[in-house]
Amino acid sequence: MLYSEKVLEHFANPKNVGELEDANGVGEVGNAKCGDIMRMYLSIDGDVIKDVKFKTFGCGAAIATSSIATEMIIGKTVEDALKLTNRAVVEALDGLPPSKIHCSVLAEQAIKAALSDYYKRQGIDPAPIVGGAGGCDDCGECDVCNAH
């Protein structure tokens, strides 16, 4: 298992760990069976993501993808955050081992789940905007899920 320096750096010094008391969008994806759970807290003001925090149970890659994903959406508009893809997360980390790509999928899904929650709290149906939030079962990367 060879991690890039960037992954190790984010794992050793993860950014934005914790919870947000005034979060108005919270999303959790993954499950313990797969070995990864990510929870994202968003504080959205108007159209801009003012602050992001995360809590992750998972491997080094799961923690690193969570960390860099929070950095990539802080200060961005909701619209821009919705455009964040797992591929962009992988690129920002200078790559991930093939068996860890699913961690980047989880990071994308965690943000989308938190944005869905934000829309729901506003009384807006998130489905047309966010799309299928996706869960762990949809990632298809993990042997446990594939066995379902």
């Binding site: 794992f11 069976k33 070995g35 080094g60 042997d143």
Partner: protein, 387 residues
């Protein structure tokens, strides 16, 4: 980094000075082919037979019962597939094993199942043990082989091999044991313990990687592993890996000498490690403590994932391993911990520390000091911890 502590001796060990010194003459000076007639060839042949003698003494076997292989996995494959081929001719196509074997055994049995063998996987209890009674109940008239590991590689539990062997003898069923983790850490005598075949590996006992041996009791005929020249009595052809075989001979002599003292010394360090690690909140020891390899500690920490724990320990200079096979590129949790009955999230997060006689009390102090803050740090970022 304050200190470097290697606590993964169940994965592999350092080649010892004595082993290295014994090996080096056979790389550049006495490089003769053991099958050659001239002096350096004869010297090589003699040396291999001396090594075979050393292995046989360590196991309580006779030299003619020892076959050198490339390692433990090869020995396991040969014993199981070889026995299966011989026994199938007599219409015996049933194999008994357990659900917590090494993959060298499990995947070999799965392959045989695809070839028409029926496999019984005996379940371990929640402490990580099999009983001879379970084996007795599972034996059938068409049972070809019983293969049960001597000691488990992840949780270190030592099985009642002598009793299992007795049951097999009574039923006239061949009994193979994967003793890769046990050799040098447990007193082994294949005669007293009713063992018909035994696999061992060099690199777990300070010999180099790429050498091992299979003990095959006289009278048991396995099909050839490699056809070719007459090496290993024609059963495993190919010019011998002399230097490594010499290394294995030296290593097994060294590690079985004064084994009682070593077991006492290493278990005392292990017990101190476990006792202190268990002071961390919500931690469990996997596998029973009574019959356990002297150097093995396997712990699970609630809400902590194994690979992240290993990475963080590594950043603090501690080499350990995880029951989580994440480290090997697979995302499956440990089959051993699942076999113990642990839930998936716990099976994803175990830590195996395997120490040996080279570990110092200061190393143990350092692990005891380093572990709690590392666990605390990972729990602080875990969404499972605040639930």
């Amino acid at each position: 980094m304050e200190r470097f502590v290697y606590a993964d001796n169940a994965a592999t060990t350092k080649v010892s000075d004595r082993v290295l010194a014994a090996m080096t003459p056979f790389l550049q000076q006495n490089y003769g082919n053991p099958s050659s007639i001239y002096s350096i060839g004869r010297e090589s042949k003699k040396t291999i037979e001396e090594a075979r003698e050393k292995v046989s003494v360590a196991l309580g076997a006779s030299p003619a019962e020892i076959y050198f292989t490339s390692g433990g996995s090869e020995a396991d494959n040969w014993a199981i597939k070889g026995a299966a081929a011989t026994q199938a001719k007599k219409g015996k196509k049933h194999i008994i094993t357990t659900n917590f074997e090494h993959h060298a055994v499990l995947h070999t049995c799965e392959k045989l199942a695809r070839d028409g063998f029926e496999i019984t996987y005996l379940p371990i209890n929640d402490e990580g043990y099999i009983t001879a009674e379970q084996v007795r109940e599972a034996i059938r008239p068409d049972t070809a082989l019983v293969t049960i590991m001597y000691a488990n590689n992840e949780i270190g539990t030592i099985q009642p091999i002598k009793e299992i062997g007795k049951v097999c003898r009574e039923a006239k069923v061949w009994f193979h044991t994967d003793a890769v983790q046990a050799v040098g850490h447990v007193e082994i005598n294949v005669q007293d313990q009713n063992i018909d075949m035994l696999s061992l590996s060099g690199h777990k006992i300070h010999a180099p990687k790429g050498v091992g041996a299979l003990y095959i009791k006289k009278g048991i005929v396995l099909q050839n592993l490699i056809d070719g020249g007459g090496q290993e009595r024609g059963k495993r052809a190919g010019t011998e890996n002399i230097a490594s075989i010499v290394g294995l001979g030296q290593a097994i002599s060294d590690c079985t000498q004064d084994i009682e003292t070593k077991i006492k010394h290493v278990s005392a360090m292990r017990d101190r490690l476990i006792e202190n690690a268990l002071k961390i909140p919500q931690v469990r020891l996997n596998g029973g403590l009574q019959n356990r390899l002297c150097g093995n500690a396997n712990l699970s920490f609630t809400a902590v994932e194994g690979e992240a724990l290993l990475l963080l320990l590594d950043m603090n200079g501690i080499c350990g391993s995880s029951g989580s096979a994440c480290t090997s590129g697979s995302l499956d949790p440990s089959h051993v911990l699942l076999a113990l009955g642990l839930p998936h999230e716990t099976a994803h997060g175990s830590l195996r520390l395997s120490i040996n006689e080279e570990t110092s009390d200061e190393d143990i102090d350092y692990i005891i000091k380093t572990l709690p803050p590392v666990i605390e740090r990972l729990r602080a970022m875990s969404p499972l911890w605040d639930k």
